[in-house]
Amino acid sequence: MKKIQIRLKNRNSLIEFIAERFIQIIALTSLAFILGIFYFVFQESFWAFKQINEKTRKEDTRKYYKISDESNMNDYSTEDDELRPEKYPPEKTNNNEYLNTKSDSLKLKPFNTLEEAKNISLHRYSMGQEKPIKFDDLFKPNDVIEGEQVFIWQPISTEPKYNILPLIFGSFKVSAIGILIAFPISIMAALFTIAFAPKWLREIIKPIVEILAGFPTVVIGFFCLTVLSGYFEELFNTQLRLNAFLGGVGLSIVIIPIVYTLIEDSLYIVPKHLSEASLALGANKWQTAYKVLLPAASPGVFAAFLLGFGRAFGETMIALMITGNAAVITLNLFDSVRTMAATIGSEMAEVEYRSIHYGVLFIVGSVLFIITFSLNALAEFIFRKKLIKKFRGY
């Protein structure tokens, strides 16, 4: 007569408990990081607006001690330029130069030793003549050229100007060119793959596009820079070799795989009986595609458009390499532009930690973040909601 034994929770469940806690902790930490990025990028932007008391005090200190060259010092510098990795293979610094700066900076008047040492320690924060900016400064016109009010982005100068409109415009311009080139090509290629191509051809085209998706963006930028820029220069007789159009073409190479894959997937899951019904009524393949397939796949098409645009908007390396990096607002296709991502990429390495410029770059980053995030969220929203709605009837 067997009976089931009562056993109280034994040691095994202790291991279970610990393991579960461990998994929970790691997972929650990684999720916290993911959410933390949102918060953190915004928080660091505030350094652009911050008024530190030391700042004003430092300005006085500076004037008093005639520390002029310190404004070039940033957090990562040392006295020996040789050891700064950003520089070329080692250059010899002129020892005399070194002497001069140091003795200039420590030219003395009578003072309290501790104060002096502490003042030197304020090098860690901004030493520049920067005054904190106000939010409007980012958007208001801040210079006059030929009688017209213009928006200038010029962070490195005696009077830094931080208008971000040229940057937003730049990103927008190249992404728009990119998506305008890429979208028709991708959608037609997708239609071909689904509506016309025999099965074996589909198995060839799809992997090739996936290969394109796997290209590192540096390589695409490199290729456009070395090969395509010269080619376009001849073809279109442009004045500037690196311009927005070239940037758009480069971006379109990145956009095509994304848009193609999404649209192709959306077309693929449209139930066959819909197109069969259309063909049975005497429509040809073009009409079927245009009137039945595409409308049925429209959420996917919209989502693809948004996602492709979003991807191009945030692309850094290609923009850095081939857009010419001039922050101007024009409608000419063949002028240079400067995108937000490229600005961050090129200027962040040289900026001083927690200076005004640093804060403004973070603001640019936040704006970039908001825009791409909204595009993604919108795409996901449309895709989910409309797709579910569309297929509920089937």
Binding site: M1, K2, K3, I4, Q5, I6, R7, L8, K9, N10, N12
Partner: protein, 252 residues
């Protein structure tokens, strides 16, 4: 009068607000086959899962009433669930061997419970496969993937796997529904063999199978127990009209 293995008192189970089982009281005797018949979707699988507490994974489940196995309330707080599940082996409707070798499938249970000795495992696997009447067919390819076997063989692997943890009760949810008649016959033979040592509860929508195989039969309809009696009686002379309607095919 056979001794009672599982005693169910006023069991009611609902998913959220939808009731699946309404106030069932039932006694399942030891070393006998008890069949549960009734139209699909009337709570039979839920009933089985209540006995081995597999329902616990569903958040929306509400259970009231009592289930006693060997006079032990299995829903009381100090019951070790993994022990409970070892004592109540389950065979599922669609055979679900792990994507591992036949040997590893049957040895899974013992391994998970701490048996690591290779020889011991081999003995267990061999004896269970023999009990499941599968040993001769697979003894030469024990280390091949279990997914390569036919449906009937896979189901027998699952039975061997369940036997390997030394249960006392076997809960079978339509074990032969996905199988061809030949395999079904073999499984039924197996059940008749196994009942000598195990208490078996089998859910089936195949009434002939219930008639062939079981000692006691319960007829469930929409979560309610309509009639519970010796199989012979249910199928030749049921007390309730509802039962008779179902059995003669007038309904369901």
């Amino acid at each position: 009068m056979k001794e009672i293995k599982i005693r169910i008192e006023s069991l009611s189970v609902s998913y959220g607000t939808k009731p699946a089982i309404k106030n069932i009281s039932l006694n399942i005797a030891r070393n006998q086959v008890t069949a549960l018949i009734g139209p699909s979707g009337c709570g039979k699988t839920t009933f089985l899962k209540t006995i081995n507490r597999l329902n616990d994974f569903n958040d929306k489940i509400r259970i009231s009433g009592k289930v006693y196995i060997d006079d032990l309330d299995i829903y009381s707080k100090n019951v070790n669930i993994t022990e409970l599940r070892k004592k109540t082996g389950m065979i599922f409707q669609k055979s679900n061997p792990f994507p591992k070798s036949i040997f590893d499938n049957v040895a899974y249970g013992p391994r998970v419970n701490g048996v690591t000795n290779r020889e011991e495992l081999y003995d267990i696997v061999k004896s269970c496969l023999m009990k499941a009447a599968l040993w001769e067919e697979v003894e030469n390819n024990l280390y091949d993937s279990a997914l390569k076997l036919s449906g009937g063989q896979q189901q027998r692997v699952c039975i061997a796997r369940a036997l390997a943890v030394n249960p006392e009760i076997l809960l079978m949810d339509e074990p032969a529904s996905a199988l061809d008649p030949l395999s079904t016959a073999r499984i039924e033979e197996l059940i008749m063999e196994l009942k000598k040592n195990y208490t078996i509860v089998i859910v089936t929508h195949n009434m002939q199978q219930a008639a062939r195989v079981s000692d006691m039969t319960a007829y469930l309809y929409m979560g309610e127990l309509i009639e519970f009696d010796k199989t012979r009686k249910i199928f030749t002379n049921p007390s309730k009209k509802q039962t008779e309607d179902y059995i003669t095919g007038r309904y369901g």
